[in-house]
């Protein structure tokens, strides 16, 4: 007997759309962070580089978590 998928296709579509919105939001945040850090760095303020790098890696970690969920979603089909 085949196992019933966790989500029907319409639900998966909604999930992937929400995920895409979140990922794009985080990437825009990272872009802003990089621009602001570069501006400060070229202006001689080097103290912000390390904290913003940590923040950017946290954002990347969030994105990786979402991607992992996406792979799991694909496996459940």
């Amino acid at each position: 007997m085949n196992q019933r998928p966790r989500f029907i296709r319409a639900q998966r579509m909604t999930i992937v759309n929400a995920m895409l919105a979140l990922v794009v939001l985080i990437v825009i945040l990272q872009l802003w962070l990089l621009t602001a850090t570069m501006n400060a760095y070229l202006g001689g303020d080097r103290a912000v580089a390390l904290p913003s790098a940590i923040a950017s890696f946290v954002c990347f970690g969030l994105n990786l978590g979402l991607l992992r969920y996406l792979f799991r979603l694909d496996e459940s089909i």
Partner: protein, 187 residues
């Protein structure tokens, strides 16, 4: 619900319905030959876009790491050794002299502002790198290229297009000699 009912529900849930909702057998020939599953197509394209955006996110994180590593390396770089750049009697009050500190740097400008007062700045304007010239009577440094003005005592921009201060050279006067001892980047 029995097994047959479940299977038929799965078929409806996972199948694209043609725009006019008629069965596939009643659809035009081209649609029967190329039954593109639009919903699945959209799902795959969004999934691939998510993957690409995560890759972009990784690129941004790497860029930030590069900036952080560079700033840490600059902090650890050794402070240049003090360098004698002029004697006190060499410059009259209001006089100026260019020098390089540390060696191989961009030109720096030493200005005698009083009998025992000296200031030194990077000579390149922070706007478009034109050389600045002292305007002692106005207590300023002037960039003639785009009419930029910097305060002579602090190096901060006071008028014109420059937004950042000139890099300041730290000085030390010992006996009759003026030494450059460090550089403070303008912010």
């Amino acid at each position: 619900m029995n097994e047959r009912g479940t299977q038929s529900q799965r078929l409806t849930e996972n199948q694209s319905i043609p725009p006019d909702a008629r069965p596939l057998a009643l659809q035009p020939r081209w649609r029967r030959d190329f039954p593109i599953d639009w919903e699945q197509d959209e799902y795959v394209s969004r999934r691939e876009l998510v993957k690409f955006m995560v890759l972009t996110s990784a690129a941004f994180a790497v860029g930030q790491a590069w900036l952080a590593a560079k700033s840490l390396l600059v902090r650890r770089a050794a402070t240049p050794r003090p360098l004698p750049i002029a004697t006190v009697n060499e410059l009259p009050v209001g006089g100026a002299k260019t020098f390089f500190y540390p060696e191989g740097s961009t030109p720096r400008l030493l200005i005698r502002t009083g009998p025992s007062a000296f200031v030194a700045y990077d000579q390149q304007c922070t706007h478009l790198l034109c050389p600045v010239v002292p305007a002692i009577e106005k207590n300023c440094l002037h960039c003639p290229c785009h009419n930029g003005w910097f305060d002579l005592q602090t190096g901060r921009p006071v008028a014109g297009p420059p937004q950042r201060a000139l890099a300041k050279i730290l000085l030390d006067v010992e006996r009759d000699t003026v030494y450059a001892t460090g550089v403070t980047e303008g912010t």
